[in-house]
């Protein structure tokens, strides 16, 4: 809120310079964010926290300032002279729902000539960002900024029947508010009605029909206390936010209504040339009940960790008008009616701490048992995945958790995401309408971004959550997604490069051995994609070269490799166990098998392992190439390492073993040897 520095200091006795004042206010919790030159004063933008509506006005902030600088708050000084005419004869007020309006105070000012307000008032209003309108409206705004009490002025002649009724609206009632908007009301909204219909939205805005105008002579001034929640709900439902609703929503002072009404009436009469009728019309069905609290200074000191003297506590609470009474170690206070935030002892402690200052509190580290800290297993898992991907040379990126529902439909057609999409009720944009069920759409967009930036090769990953929904509710799964682009080599070479990264990462994350099966459409073309499954057939990943459709959709070349792994099932890898280092030499033999293209390597390898004798220590893939003829046959070379644990093997022994293996393979798989 913007304050006028001259207005503020006018309430203070013994005011220090503005720099000191601004600093002290900041120190006690009213952050002076910005100081600007205004008309005849500085304009201060002060951040008053939502729980402190009492300081959202000049007098309230001055009360804080007085305590903060050790000065005195001057009494509010104004004179109100009334004429003989009895206000209660001129209008009646009725509160139909005291739960929503605990008090309604009104005054009548007659014979007003509605002209502009004087320069000093306009300057202050303008410094605070309020546009001057006329003397009546300006006086109500002035008192709002001065005392925090929202007021409303009606043209008494336009209040039909000279009756004010505070009641919930009837369904279908309409009101054109001061801003010219026609608003449809419902029964949850509190209204001000006159003898015939609605004239104002309680606590939010007046109606255009009873507005102060150039012909107004008699003014009915409203100063009421409305229920915070009711005003807030109505304002939200109507999409409105006004100076009045801002304060009512946060809580106003029911006891201030009378003073504020008097103050505004006096200003209007003084500046607008009218006369204030005798007496207030004051309907107060639910009186404010004073709240007393009691606390021990020793307990306060223990809570803060600083010895604070009872005298200092009393001084602070006196300044804040809590009327403290000290008896021994106990202090009893009366919570002022404007302090809607004070309810529990810590609330009260805060008042003292704010003004003692955090600077005065000695730093003291807490002492707790010396147990080591543990990381939640979920963090262990995802950081293991992150580290593994980084070790594989990939760079981490982050993309949005919400994606386009149209893209999500693609995701739904593959098997990693069993549940329904989780759609946002109120997305920022339609293209961010659902929570992602896969990292791939975000990663493909990232691939596109990077290529557009002129990157020639891609090597990045994302670790993050995906979301879905089923009958049991929403679920979150940790995923790892990978993008690779490196144009060298044929499709198989490039696929195997991605597979190598995935195998390395899976091992480090602690995923079980996975079976690679052709699949993964529509992300991959049939020939170049794979689904990764655990031994019981649960799909936990997919990898491959993007399909033509996907490449086109994201405007990519066909060479981009993508992969996604569900890492929830990973378990921390066991500690490695030492194996005795070999003491005798090995014999390495390559074996080239000629076979039909349809025989995949997994089958060949498993048969080789099965048939290999006990001396085969290691088996690895070397290369594969198709025969140049039209036979459609291919040759695959495997390398076998023979070793005996206790002695050197002779070449003859190995040759015998090796040829037995070849015969076995020929018999089992029908393969031949080159």
């Amino acid at each position: 809120m913007i304050f006028d520095s001259d207005w503020l200091t006018g309430y203070l006795d013994g005011t220090p310079d503005l720099d000191t004042l601004a600093k002290r206010l900041t120190d006690c919790g009213c952050l002076v964010e910005l100081r600007e030159k205004g008309d005849g004063a500085e304009k201060w933008d002060v951040e008053v926290t939502t729980n402190r509506p009492d300081a959202m006005n000049h007098r309230g902030l001055a009360r804080e300032a007085a305590v903060a600088v050790g000065g005195q708050l001057r009494p509010l000084d104004f004179e109100l002279s009334e004429c003989d005419e009895d206000a209660t004869e001129l209008a009646t007020i009725e509160i139909a729902d005291p739960a929503l309006c605990s008090r309604y105070v009104a005054r009548v000012i007659r014979g007003v000539s509605v002209g502009p307000s004087p320069g000093w008032m306009q300057r202050r209003l303008l410094n605070c960002g309020v546009r001057p309108v006329n003397v009546v409206v300006d006086a109500t705004n002035y008192v709002l900024l001065e005392l925090g009490q929202p007021l409303h002025a009606f043209d008494l002649d336009l209040v039909r029947g000279r009756r004010i009724i505070v009641r919930p609206a009837k369904a279908g009632e309409k009101l054109t508010t001061l801003d010219g908007e026609k608003r449809e009301l419902d029964s949850s909204m509190l209204m001000i009605a006159d003898g015939e219909g609605v004239v104002a939205l309680a606590g939010i805005m007046g109606g255009a029909d009873s507005e102060i105008n150039d012909d107004t002579t008699d003014v009915l001034l409203e100063s009421a206390h409305f229920d915070a929640l009711s005003v807030r709900r109505t304002a939200r439902r109507l999409g409105m936010h006004t100076e009045a609703s801002h304060r009512f929503e946060r809580g106003t002072d029911p006891e201030m209504t009378a003073t504020a009404c008097d103050r505004a009436a006096a200003l209007i009469a003084e500046l607008g040339g009218g006369r204030v009728c005798r007496g207030r019309i004051d309907v107060y069905p639910r009186r404010w009940e004073p709240q007393q609290m009691e606390f021990s200074v020793a307990a306060l000191s223990a809570f803060v960790g600083l010895e604070i003297t009872p005298e200092r506590v009393v001084e602070i609470l006196e300044g804040l008008e809590f009327f403290p009474e000290l008896e021994g170690d106990q202090i009893q206070v009366n919570v002022p009616p404007y302090r809607v935030d004070i309810d529990r002892l810590p609330d009260l402690y805060e008042e003292v701490i704010r003004h003692v200052g955090y600077d005065a509190v000695p730093s003291q580290l807490p002492v707790l048992p010396t147990t080591p800290g543990h990381r939640n297993p979920n963090w262990e898992l995802i950081d293991r995945a992150r580290d593994a991907a980084v070790a594989a040379g990939l760079n981490e990126v982050m993309t949005w958790s919400f994606i386009d529902p149209e893209t999500d439909e693609l995701v739904g057609s593959q098997s990693l995401c069993p549940g329904e999409p989780l759609a946002l009720d109120n997305p920022l944009a339609a293209t961010q309408g659902v929570m992602r069920r896969s990292l791939l759409p975000g990663l493909l967009s990232a691939a596109q971004t990077n290529l557009n930036q002129g990157e020639r090769t891609l090597g990045f990953f994302e670790q993050g959550r995906v979301f879905d929904l089923d009958d049991a509710g929403p679920h979150e799964h940790e995923r790892l997604g990978i993008v690779l682009l490196d144009e060298s080599g044929d499709a198989e070479t490039r696929f195997l490069r991605l597979k190598g990264v995935i195998e390395c990462v899976c091992e480090k994350i602690g995923l079980p051995a996975l079976e690679w099966k052709r699949g993964g459409e529509p992300w991959f073309a049939e020939e170049t994609g794979a689904i990764l499954e655990t031994s019981d057939g649960t799909p936990v990943g997919m990898a491959g070269l993007v399909s033509r459709d996907i490449a086109a959709r994201w405007d990519l070349g066909p060479d981009v490799l993508i992969a996604e792994l569900d890492i929830d099932t990973a378990t921390e890898p066991a500690l490695p166990r030492y194996e005795a280092l070999a003491r005798f030499p090995s014999v390495v033999m390559d074996m080239t098998v000629e076979h039909e293209e349809g025989l995949n390597y997994a089958k060949l390898e498993s048969a080789t392992r099965d048939l290999a004798g006990e001396w085969v220590e290691d088996l690895s893939y070397v290369t594969r190439f198709p025969l140049p003829d039209e036979s459609g046959r291919v040759r695959t070379t495997q390398r076998l390492v023979y070793r005996h644990p206790d002695r050197s093997l002779t070449q003859e022994e190995v040759n015998t073993e090796h040829s037995n293996l070849r015969e076995g393979l020929a018999e089992r798989l029908g393969v031949t040897f080159a």
Binding site: L229, L306, R344, R386, N395, L424, P474
Partner: protein, 340 residues
């Protein structure tokens, strides 16, 4: 034969060797003509020994041996050199100033680098690192934290809502509530994680990251909070950094404090980062409101505690000088590569 003959041979040998230079073939010819087993000069000279009178034999033999040693040593030296010349013939000298072959290096996202640094500081102080769901219910995200429905504080945390009464958590604080519901004090935890608010402009992103701390035990004081934050911020930035607590407001702490550090860029002289104020707002904190304890079943008469929270993205931007929040979520590998 006489020792004079030996001197002649010696001079001739040295001359021939000199002439041969580093030509391996020429050197070999020299070797054969002097030290060759069949027709070498040394054989001839050795044979000459027999013809000498016995009184001259001794001096001649000694001189001959010296000559032999000389010839062998010189030949040896020259042959090593000529060999080296042969081996290195055709090899260019290495330009040692050429750049090394790049090794594939990966890097973590700067937000995660910062997160792990902060986790590490608190782990060393005995805090546990906790996790919780990003899809939350209203109770844990708001009500348990003393933010009832229609509370004005909900305005500051514009929320994405989901079906069945779920929402995207607007802060990491719901994990506080979850941990206190399931565990007895003493509790000391930090909770990093992704959070969401329905807000998007230059300084706000609808998705960002926070880390939250909570400590609950008997007799925890405001002084404990202050010392903990100072210790943490000194470890994160530097021991020279000044820490300032200002009164603030959060619904779930009472009293609350906003925490600033002295500007690490301008030494508090005033710069763009601190908007000329000399201070950078870094986190929010306070003593846990007893209403929160009561909501999650912690005895508020017996226990007190403190909580604090900070934005990881903001810290990463500050520490690394990244100007635009949205760059963090653009998926641009050029950003991360800078952290390899």
């Amino acid at each position: 034969m006489s020792t004079a003959r030996l001197d002649e041979v010696r001079a001739a040998f040295l001359a021939d060797l000199e002439k041969a230079g580093s030509d391996a073939e020429a050197v070999e010819k020299v070797r054969v003509s002097y030290a060759g087993k069949k027709s070498g000069v040394l054989n001839e000279l050795a044979a000459g020994l027999r013809e000498l009178p016995s009184e001259e034999k001794r001096a001649y033999g000694q001189a001959l041996n010296e000559l032999k040693t000389l010839i062998k040593t010189e030949l040896g030296n020259v042959r090593v050199e000529t060999h080296r010349a042969t081996v290195t013939a055709g090899i260019r000298a290495v330009d040692v100033t050429l750049p090394g072959t790049p090794v594939a290096r990966g890097a973590q996202h700067p937000v995660h680098i910062v997160r792990r640094r902060i986790e590490e500081i608190f782990l060393r102080m005995g805090y546990d690192v906790e996790a919780g769901p990003e899809v939350e219910d209203d109770w844990h995200n708001f009500e348990a934290l003393n933010i009832p429905p229609d509370h004005p504080a909900r305005d500051d945390q514009d929320t994405f809502y989901l079906p069945q009464g779920y929402l995207l958590r607007t802060h990491t604080s719901p994990v506080q509530a979850r941990v206190m519901e399931s565990r007895k004090p003493p509790i000391r935890i930090v909770v990093p994680g992704r959070v969401y608010r329905r807000d998007s402009d230059l300084r706000h992103s609808p998705m960002f990251h926070q880390i939250e701390g909570l400590l609950v035990d008997e007799g925890i004081t405001v002084g404990h909070l202050k010392a903990t934050l100072e210790t943490f911020l000194h470890a994160l930035f530097s021991d020279d950094v000044e820490v300032r607590l200002r009164p603030g407001y959060f619904p779930f702490t009472e009293p609350s404090a906003e925490v600033d550090i002295s500007c690490i860029f301008c030494d508090q002289k005033g710069c763009g980062v601190c908007s000329g104020s000399g201070w950078i707002e870094i986190l929010g904190s306070g003593m846990v409101d007893p209403r929160v304890f009561e909501a999650v079943g912690v005895d508020s008469d017996r226990y007190t505690g403190f909580a604090f929270g900070l934005g990881l993205d903001r810290i990463a931007m500050l520490v690394y000088g990244i100007p635009d929040l949205r760059q963090l979520f653009a998926g641009d590998q050029r950003l991360t590569r800078q952290f390899a």
